[in-house]
């Protein structure tokens, strides 16, 4: 009896406390937003600086305060009395922290988000404010530094839920960083196709037993060998928005048809899978590819070919390979001269939470930041101190670059003002310029389509878990394909079917809306 009565009292106390505090707390939560225009009037009159709370991922650059002080000074001159309160959150914790803060009703005005960071879910749960009107009224610079295709392609349900941040229109296709010295030693000319690459790797295995021919930067997602090797094939299979990089559901070329690998075992893909398996058994692929960090292995000088995502060899890899006595070069089989279809999908977005009380000011700030001089300040630092311009569209870093590290991708990226780093080799410079020019790309039929995962959230969660078990080993050749595929298919097929049907339904609705 005593237990029960005590527990009862405790429960009552808990609920009471929770109840009162919630009404106190929810007062803050359900506070309505009075019309913005009224409030800006009063603000302008009070002349008190408006504090904008910004949450970005990454590191706080050492000279950040200086740069922000300069930015605030310039803004005051332009009539905008803002103070920027920027919080940096570690990449790995960004999602959790933003969700907790927004759920608790905290005051945030600008938040970084991205489709790969569960942004679609956040939108479905109503966290962010649609920006069309605000941009039309207060953000002309933002709109005219982004080509129409970019703005159109990144709408959710027809609305612009975040400002797209991008500087290229096509992901650089598959890039391989290879050991130039090994290539030359074995008598190979420049490698121009996947076939030549495989030949090269087999030759390495034969004549240099101490070197492992291939390792991938990551062992998951689209860095698994099979999908990666298709990225520069014309009309090669590409992942869908529903399952991201998994090729279980895929598109081909500039078309909206959804293919299901469980339904029909596409011969092209399966050939590659079997080939990759043979490569693993032949010792071409690193035996621990699922566990090692590919870039580290390559830097040690023990690997001949590394799959990567960047057009040129990153500084740290070049330096490390140099120390190990070799030379690294980057190769890609992508054809950069023809017009390509592009989804115009933005990598990142900057969004305004629905609860923010300073939406107009936030847009005004971003509008200011998207003017060339101001963009230069926030992206590269103070001219003459951290960087210097090389012509109109390139820049050179002064010093070792650690005082103000580059991070415009987090909040202000746009293809018009973003400068290219000086010192890139010819071919890469050409590629950079090519991919930044929107006229080089045609619109993909699905540009602007964004998949709402909510109706099939459970199936996607289940699929993710199953995928994690089988996809990586399958697509990297680590396990027996027949065995893995049977199990994979048995567990995942029903879920994938449901996802496919939902995806096709939404695609059809999208196409009907836009035709």
């Amino acid at each position: 009896m005593k237990w029960r009565s005590l527990l009862g009292i405790l429960l009552v106390v808990m609920v009471a406390l929770a109840g009162c505090s919630s009404s106190g707390g929810s007062g803050k939560e359900t506070g309505s937003n009075p019309s913005d225009s009224n409030r800006t009037e009063t603000r302008k009159e009070s002349k008190e600086p408006v504090v904008l709370n910004v949450m970005l991922p990454g590191d706080r650059p050492a000279d950040f305060n200086k740069v922000i002080a300069e930015a605030e000074r310039r803004m005051a001159e332009d009539g905008l009395h803002f103070r920027l309160d920027v919080t940096f959150v570690p990449w790995s914790d960004l999602k959790q922290k933003t969700q907790v803060m927004l759920s608790a009703g905290e005051d945030l005005d600008l938040v970084f988000d991205a489709p790969w960071n569960a942004m679609n879910e956040m939108i479905a749960a109503g966290y962010y404010e649609p920006l069309d009107e605000l941009l039309a009224r207060h953000g002309p610079n933002i709109l005219n530094t982004r080509p129409k295709e970019l703005l159109d392609a990144n709408r959710f349900d027809g609305k612009l839920m975040g400002i797209p941040l991008n500087n290229k229109f096509k992901d650089p296709a598959a890039t391989y960083v290879i050991r130039q010295d090994i290539r030359e030693e074995l008598g190979f000319g420049p490698i121009r196709s996947y076939g030549e690459l495989t030949e090269f790797m087999y030759e390495v295995k034969k004549r240099m037993p101490d070197i492992i021919p291939y390792v991938g930067s990551l062992a998951t997602g689209n860095m698994t060998l099979v999908p990666f090797s298709f990225r520069d094939v014309e009309n090669g299979p590409e992942g869908t928005q529903a399952l991201y990089q998994s090729l279980v559901l895929y598109h081909r070329g500039n078309d909206s048809k959804v293919f299901n690998l469980f339904d029909e075992a596409d011969p092209e893909i399966w050939d590659r899978i079997l080939q990759v398996r043979q490569m693993y058994l032949d010792g071409i692929i690193h035996p621990d590819i699922m566990a090692v960090k590919g870039q580290e292995e390559f830097k040690k000088g023990k690997v001949a070919v590394l799959s990567l995502n960047s057009i040129s060899v990153p500084n740290d890899i070049a330096a490390a390979v140099d120390e190990a006595g070799g030379k690294a070069e980057a190769i890609t089989f992508f054809n950069y001269s023809d017009k390509q279809p592009s989804m115009f999908a933005a990598y990142n977005f900057i969004c305004i939470p629905v609860r923010s009380e300073k939406k107009v000011e936030a847009i005004q700030f971003l509008n200011w930041a998207n003017e060339k001089d101001n963009y230069d300040l926030l992206a590269y630092g103070m001219e003459g101190v951290h960087w210097e311009p090389v012509g109109d569209d390139m820049y050179r870093v002064l010093g070792d670059g650690s005082a103000y590290t580059w991070f415009p991708y987090a909040w202000i990226w746009n293809p018009v003002h973003d400068r290219i780093k000086d010192g890139l080799p010819e071919q890469e410079l050409a590629v950079e310029k090519f991919t930044r020019d929107s006229s080089n790309f045609t619109k993909h039929v699905l540009a602007g389509f964004s998949f709402n995962a909510e109706p099939v959230a459970n199936e996607i969660a289940q699929y993710n878990a199953i995928d994690a078990k089988y996809y990586g080993p399958l697509m990297n050749g680590v396990g027996d394909p027949e065995e893995l595929w049977t199990k994979f298919k048995q567990e995942a097929e029903p879920h994938v079917k449901k996802i496919q049907l939902e995806l096709e339904k939404q695609i059809e609705a999208f196409l009907n809306r836009n035709s």
Binding site: P57, L218, K299, S312, T405, K421
Partner: protein, 288 residues
């Protein structure tokens, strides 16, 4: 005779295990002073071949590390003392024979170990209702009572002979006085143990700082490290050639160096606490 073999075995066993424990740490220590290329070439190695402060210079650049150290030390000191006061008095009550409701209280305490605070609720409590955001108290208060450590103390207190309490009562001491004057001095081993555990808990925490401290000047050491390391890992996947770093960051070395600068103060604390593991503090207390 059998004893000699046994003692021999004891020494060998413990020494072998200790070596297994020490060697990896030694490697971490030595390798934190190695160059990044040396690390790549040889992996973890035992003997220093070259000496480089690269990893440490990187960590200490910008001066953030000093303020973080200060914050961590302050939080740990205040937190540990506070936690010991709150926890030991509470544990004593849970262990005391005369307390009728001790089982209920124990259950209620243990319950919180299983049903931890919901994340959103926890955040709302500390940030909104208590208004502790960006204060040092957000780093101290939530950990003042750790049920696990409380139960360790309860178990120890329960073993203390009740005759001591009775003797004290006869002498006219009130319960609180008995606790402070008689029980606590005897409980030195467990107090030293739990004190160390609390100190470690406060020292190692980055979670509270992540949630509640946005002001980087108030960031303790662990969150600073976490931010650094997490962002380093991401840098290599962001369009590699476009980052503005022209020097290479010794990323592996940094991981090792962070272990070393974290362990520093604690390793100094531990030998001091070992003094409290002296035996037989109860002799004479009962017999006399």
């Amino acid at each position: 005779m059998r004893d000699k073999w046994f003692i021999g075995f004891v020494y060998v066993f413990v020494t072998v295990f200790a070596v297994f424990c020490f060697l990896p740490f030694w490697m971490v220590f030595v390798d934190s002073f190695a160059t990044e290329s040396g690390l790549r070439e040889k992996g973890f190695h035992l003997f220093p071949t070259e000496f480089s402060l690269d990893a440490y210079t990187f960590l200490f650049s910008g001066g953030q590390v000093y303020s973080s150290y200060a914050v961590s030390v302050t939080v740990t000191a205040i937190g540990t003392i506070g936690a010991m006061i709150v926890s030991s008095s509470y544990a004593y009550v849970l262990a005391h024979r005369k307390v009728k409701y001790r089982n209920i209280l124990s259950f209620l305490t243990y319950f919180t170990m299983l049903f931890g605070a919901g994340l959103v609720g926890f955040y709302m409590l500390i940030a909104n209702w208590l208004g502790l955001k960006d204060t040092i108290w957000a780093l101290i208060l939530p950990y003042l009572l750790n049920p696990f450590y409380v139960f360790i103390m309860v178990s120890y207190f329960r073993d203390i002979p009740y005759e001591l309490n009775e003797a004290a009562l006869i002498d006219g001491c009130g319960e609180i006085r008995t606790f402070v004057r008689i029980i606590l001095p005897i409980a030195k081993p467990v107090l030293a143990t739990v004190g160390l555990f609390y100190a470690l808990q406060y020292w190692n925490d980055w979670w509270l700082a992540l949630l509640f401290v946005d002001d980087y000047r108030l960031h303790p050491l662990q969150i600073m490290i976490r931010q650094l390391v997490s962002n380093l890992n991401v840098q290599s996947y962001i369009a590699g050639s476009s980052t503005s770093y022209t020097v290479t960051i010794p990323s592996t070395g940094i991981q090792l160096a962070t272990v070393c600068i974290t362990i520093g103060p604690i390793i100094a604390l531990y030998p001091i606490l070992q003094r409290y593991y002296t035996k037989g503090l109860t002799i004479g207390a009962v017999k006399g």
